[in-house]
Symmetry: D2
Subunit: 411 residues, 4 copies
Amino acid sequence: MAPTRSESAPEKLGIGMVGYAFMGAAHSQGWRTAGRVFPLPLRPVLAALCGRDAPAVRAAADRHGWAAAETDWRDLVARDDVQLVDVCTPGDSHAEIAIAALEAGKHVLCEKPLANTVAEAEAMVEAARKARERGQLAMVGFNYRRVPAVAHARRMIAQGRLGVLRHLRVTYLQDWLVDPEFPLTWRLQREHAGSGALGDLGAHIVDLAQYLAGEPLVGVSAFTETFVRERPLLAGVSGGLSGVRGAGRGPVTVDDAALFTGRLASGALASFEATRMASGRKNALRIELNGERGSLAFDLERLNELSFHDHTEPAASAGFRRILVTEPDHPYLEAWWPPGHALGYEHTFVHQARDLVAAIAAGTDPEPSFADGLQVQRVLAAVEESAAKNAVYTPVPAPSTTETPSDPEVP
Amino acid sequence: MAPTRSESAPEKLGIGMVGYAFMGAAHSQGWRTAGRVFPLPLRPVLAALCGRDAPAVRAAADRHGWAAAETDWRDLVARDDVQLVDVCTPGDSHAEIAIAALEAGKHVLCEKPLANTVAEAEAMVEAARKARERGQLAMVGFNYRRVPAVAHARRMIAQGRLGVLRHLRVTYLQDWLVDPEFPLTWRLQREHAGSGALGDLGAHIVDLAQYLAGEPLVGVSAFTETFVRERPLLAGVSGGLSGVRGAGRGPVTVDDAALFTGRLASGALASFEATRMASGRKNALRIELNGERGSLAFDLERLNELSFHDHTEPAASAGFRRILVTEPDHPYLEAWWPPGHALGYEHTFVHQARDLVAAIAAGTDPEPSFADGLQVQRVLAAVEESAAKNAVYTPVPAPSTTETPSDPEVP
Amino acid sequence: MAPTRSESAPEKLGIGMVGYAFMGAAHSQGWRTAGRVFPLPLRPVLAALCGRDAPAVRAAADRHGWAAAETDWRDLVARDDVQLVDVCTPGDSHAEIAIAALEAGKHVLCEKPLANTVAEAEAMVEAARKARERGQLAMVGFNYRRVPAVAHARRMIAQGRLGVLRHLRVTYLQDWLVDPEFPLTWRLQREHAGSGALGDLGAHIVDLAQYLAGEPLVGVSAFTETFVRERPLLAGVSGGLSGVRGAGRGPVTVDDAALFTGRLASGALASFEATRMASGRKNALRIELNGERGSLAFDLERLNELSFHDHTEPAASAGFRRILVTEPDHPYLEAWWPPGHALGYEHTFVHQARDLVAAIAAGTDPEPSFADGLQVQRVLAAVEESAAKNAVYTPVPAPSTTETPSDPEVP
Amino acid sequence: MAPTRSESAPEKLGIGMVGYAFMGAAHSQGWRTAGRVFPLPLRPVLAALCGRDAPAVRAAADRHGWAAAETDWRDLVARDDVQLVDVCTPGDSHAEIAIAALEAGKHVLCEKPLANTVAEAEAMVEAARKARERGQLAMVGFNYRRVPAVAHARRMIAQGRLGVLRHLRVTYLQDWLVDPEFPLTWRLQREHAGSGALGDLGAHIVDLAQYLAGEPLVGVSAFTETFVRERPLLAGVSGGLSGVRGAGRGPVTVDDAALFTGRLASGALASFEATRMASGRKNALRIELNGERGSLAFDLERLNELSFHDHTEPAASAGFRRILVTEPDHPYLEAWWPPGHALGYEHTFVHQARDLVAAIAAGTDPEPSFADGLQVQRVLAAVEESAAKNAVYTPVPAPSTTETPSDPEVP
């Protein structure tokens, strides 16, 4: 038989990606897989991968299936076969690359946190606003919204299953900095990472909390702490979490942990903890919401499960139930495996790719938007301000009239 | 055969108890049972029970096995057959009764929180100090220290199994106020209860956190909230959680929830949440401690279990283990059942009775002392002060030189 | 005030107990406590305790609160102040004592398994039948029916929440024989214990399975095994699980483990495993029932919880829920603590005492009856027969016409 | 820059796959992804996909990334660009296709169960033996061996962490047949599926039990049951679990459930349950092994976790620990994400592809072999024989001298 690609195959969408460490690998898996699992209106093509180290980026391109490799992101942004630029670099280059890509007429997907400062994030939102007028889309990569259990929780909350919210408690606990000999990678340097656990982990949980609650944080009270102030220097440039150790020690310039509390617009009380020093907790993003009619709880270490208590049931038969979020009518599950067959971490990137491609084809606004990313950035800034001022309650500025945070979509 | 009581039976210790609602029932079970399970140096005798309603207190005395009933606590305190006064009333009468009992030469066990104000607690500590010179003892009823799993956690921490502490997170979540029609009992009135979730639940978790960590909280940042501001009035006087509803509604004058963060003396970060509005959480006193060498977690809803992660193990075989705290060499377990046979809530009162009787016989200081109760009271006051001042960081005053909080004993 | 015992105090019910080891301690706690927690129509009085070793039984009587001590069970049975004989001895003396007590006009509570052989159990049932005509009652101590979560499960099943049953799987796993140096106590000797894990643990799970399902096992296929064939001899007589080691080793004459499968009357498939060799499992009595409309699961190591899946719910929100069986309308809970306050192992004996006292006062048949105990004995005999015959399917004989196993009562 | 594929790219390995339903999709994901994540010595190329329905297979090929489509498996087997044939059809065609592929000089991967009968499986083993002499490899797709937690369990057992085994208990519980209106798909017809839950689920757990224990089952006692004897007919041919309903009902000719017990070569007792009627259990493949030195437990519904109890620890600090099997030195994890980032179901197929490609490049025997698949088939046949003979103990025939089941490799 002849080759099988049929006449009606969808049009291509050329992807160019900057960065190829942890996030680069995860995004590659997303772009490669989305169209194999979901019927997509456009066919993502892994056009070109960009990184500064030519042999390394070439090897990464081969490994992950990218057709070409670039060493200057400006060249990537200029390529004709690239319609979407996916920014997977450390936070200090997000604004420059994303804005340039938008100005070059590309759609943009940018890793979280959106930027290292509120000012950068504001510029990005403005660039996205202008690009939107030209039909380009911009999305920030809060991938955990696309864990099926999280999306299903959002759906249940939108349906009113929790009623008026009273409490949120959210943690994101890891332990890779417990060892004082863990070296000083870019993630521990303010100039590259912007902040530490706060931007890396705290950004995720602030976004998730606001997404699930369907309302913003209006103010916070915060502590941050750097428990280990100096760490071994790395000899060379480091990608991802690892690196080669060099001589001597250098100062850690970001937080190891951030602990903050606050209020949502509705008056609900919320608590947040982001840390890399919680021994034995590997990826414990946990969220619990208590409302007048019910409660929901989620733990990223058991990401196929959602815990739900229906407070309207008779007390004698009520209790937190473990919903295995693998049923065909759970979000994203229609395309995967039969009930009970678990998904994993990287599926969130497949779902992110699916949703962004669908939005591009439909011309609708993808979610979370850059404005959503900016709002998270403002919360993080308020956290840092409060931590610097004896934990005093610090309001989170409201969006300006030209910014339009998404109405959280019901999946 | 003749009656069996042998010549060498231990001397009696006459107990007089004030209050016979929830705590009264639990303490009765403790006094009745301690000497049946543990070999005690003194034999507790349930001498007299006191309450204001004569027929009710007489019925309660019959039910719970008290030899006599009194309607005025002054009469109880004056009885010759009473050597120990057990104060189980609401917080507004703790100081008056406990101080009178100490001045009358009795040992005193006082329910938590020690008092409704710092000033009352200070007076109680002073009264206890003077009574101590006469050989009388005073103890505050933070019974959860005597859950075997908690005592075992204390032992492990004292042995250095966690190393330097980095994080504590503690919650005490209940849900009996979610229903806005739950009536206005004494626990919701400031003049009787002092505070709401803060004093009732928060006092427990502050004490537990400091007991387990082996160090005090030095400052806090806090929110408190009353979500339901008015509730149905009760027709009459109410004991415990229930009551008869009357006409109309009255104001709730205590907090429904308290959310606070802080630092321990060592610099560890701590978070606390006490609420009666967490749908589906019935008695979720949860504590987790993360240290450089390990972590421990406990949940009162599964009180026979302790979760432990040993961070010194190779990563490939490390993980949180569920220790079933029912082995003969776990605290208090030598006298109970074979491994795997669960204990329950009221066993903490049996253990409390055992330890207090043993201290009286030995003339040693029981723990937690009134000074420990005062220190908790100061934390609660700092929480209220911070909550009133925009959550600003509020130091907890250090003990005066005449107060001597216990060195937490290793069980 | 005068002593408080009021005129209308309930009549006494004198208890005489034989045996004072593990079960004796647990039953003592039950008899002492039942009337302090539940309003009882008769007042249990701990009249006399019996054991062969005079000083030991005297000390035990003092410890546990028995008024008198006896060294010959015939003397105990003959006492006028004893109306109920509670048999807590090893299985080889159950029949003799229980029958004598019934013939002496006493009510009888007999520990499980009812007897060491079917013939003994049949004689006991016949003695109970005759005694019943004289108004005396007989009950066998399958105390786990009185775990509130188990009783609540029975209630839900009786209400049809599971529909037609398809599967039962039941285990009772302990690990105290894993150590080959654990000594040869009476529980490891056929002449005293009748069988090993089968009679000790298997009897419990056979009774529970039939009680919950509301129907009998009709046949079984079985393996039994003694993994450690010789163990150190004990120097003297041993009570309970412990003892003093003597010289040399002797043969273990009972099973370490029994593994069997079978069918219920309705055709549901059932599997059972009883073992003392499951490392790390301390008291893992686990039962799961799957029906057309739902499933229930229980684990004695978490005895305040019941796990329930409602199969009639939409799949997207269905899942096993953890019911904390501590609500006031759960069985037995009306008299205990507020929601979320755990009960323990020995509460089952309090509940057993309550129910038996209530039955005596009302003249109704207590449950489980001796006929229920005989039926379990027949299952155990069928297990041993199948194990001896290459696991071939072995029917369980139906009750004779004079035996009347209880219709499981809905609690 | 020029295209990136470097000179030293590995040689291609052309894959031809038969079947494109559930297993086809999962295998496609495995073949597509393995080389993107792991450095492979050969590059798998998705050469051709085969199915009987031309438009459907063409669409599936497009979807899953296969270069060509075939409608006759004989044509697929004959293709020059195919070096490995992957058989994902129902069991009734495994033998014919696999033997033809081996005779045509191809490597073969065959889905489990290896065949529908022992005779077919024997013929396949013989064909594989001959092909091996020509350098071709054959592997059976027991993919669950390649869940990292399972492979890690195997490693721990091989290291002696459990000591002498005493007990295995294994279940594979699903619930998709609880609804009596679920239609009569091929999986419910003996002529296509060979058996029901037994071959589909039971084959997995028999293989896993023997793989983990490192020893075979030597005999079994069994029950099988078909609870729902008739089901709605499907109108047309059905792929996977779904289909279009037709008129009327037809007989279910396979088991809904199989319950069996047995002994391992070492004398350990084992129990197995495979069912599609366990309400609320979606994919509950659970295995627990108890040995003299420790225990391990695994649940496929939480596939990133392994539960381990170390019985050599002091009892006071021992307990089942939850190992999150996501560390870099866990099997297969060196190539995936940082600790705590979960893998999912389909990763097992990626690992299977990796291991098979590595074996082909190295010329070593892949595991599990066809002989391993035949041994499982013999266990299934013994189960059916025992079930037909009143559950009598039925030995599992030993391998003939020309069959060589794998020594389970330590991952």
